[in-house]
Symmetry: C2
Subunit: 204 residues, 2 copies
Amino acid sequence: MDVLVPFDAREPKTRLFPVLDTDERREFARVMLADVCAAIAATDREPTVLSTTDVDTNWPVVVDDRPLSDAVNGAIADSDRAVAVVMADLALATPESLERVFAADGEVVLVPGRGGGTNAVLTRRSDFRVDYHGVSIRDHRKQAAAIGVEPTTVDSFRLATDVDEPPDLAEVLLHSDRAAATWLREHDITPAVSEGRVTIDRGT
Amino acid sequence: MDVLVPFDAREPKTRLFPVLDTDERREFARVMLADVCAAIAATDREPTVLSTTDVDTNWPVVVDDRPLSDAVNGAIADSDRAVAVVMADLALATPESLERVFAADGEVVLVPGRGGGTNAVLTRRSDFRVDYHGVSIRDHRKQAAAIGVEPTTVDSFRLATDVDEPPDLAEVLLHSDRAAATWLREHDITPAVSEGRVTIDRGT
């Protein structure tokens, strides 16, 4: 099985702007990427980072500067093996949650993300195509149906939680014991409660 | 096993205000409650609605007007069986996701909700106590540790998704095929994409 981790090395995680500055966002994105790759490796599979530009990491990197969906579809079409695609900002991913995906039955396995996204895909069909634009989970179900496949769904809070906006950092602090959580603590970011919702505080 | 579904019948779901008016919020909350109870019943367990005031439902109701945590703790202390507590706004709950909770090993089983919440609990210890105020998942871990228990965690996107705010309605539309999703469609509420995030539209 090929396990791809798409990564946009150029200007990652812009929606974390209110809390993290440009350099911090770049650094934190790489810490999350490393956590995801390490969790994949702990399932005895080797991650390949599919990056828009070269990126310094301990894992194999394939550079493809096409838009995300095109780069992933190229990799699926070119591979003669099953292909899994795991998003690089799944800071809550654990080997156990990822193993549920890799071990799932079915020709196409989908892991919904919050807000209509698709945070992981496993396809054993080389004619499956991804489209990450818009409400991708809906499009991926249609795409599976179009090739005659009833997709398998993996129901995981950890994998549904991509880290895009400041409140997502609280999820990392509450549910991860990996490097991304340590990085946030070292940058004085802590969970806070405001009007019954969890958000974050940043110390000075 | 006792399966309790706490329900605040007085002024439910105020944060859905921008989309649903008072009567609609009340009605939608009851539709979600019915979906959750039906999903529990489909696991061959009988739900009991633990309600702040009497509520018209097909399921047994126990009225307790104390605050949520006090009412649940009273029920745990008074029962001589395992007690499960499932939130009434888990509109994405399915029999399969709930069965993972009810069948989980361990003296205390916790299901994290988004934003630090605890969306379901199963306790086989009558000395476990809940506290839903603030970052409850953290408090529940501490509470389990205080009685010498390492809690089991069930990792479920469906059960992590409580329906509190307008974007949560999109999750219902995308991932439920039950009455709550039908109700939303009948009220012309549809998913919409705005700046790459899923939100909802309401027809006129």
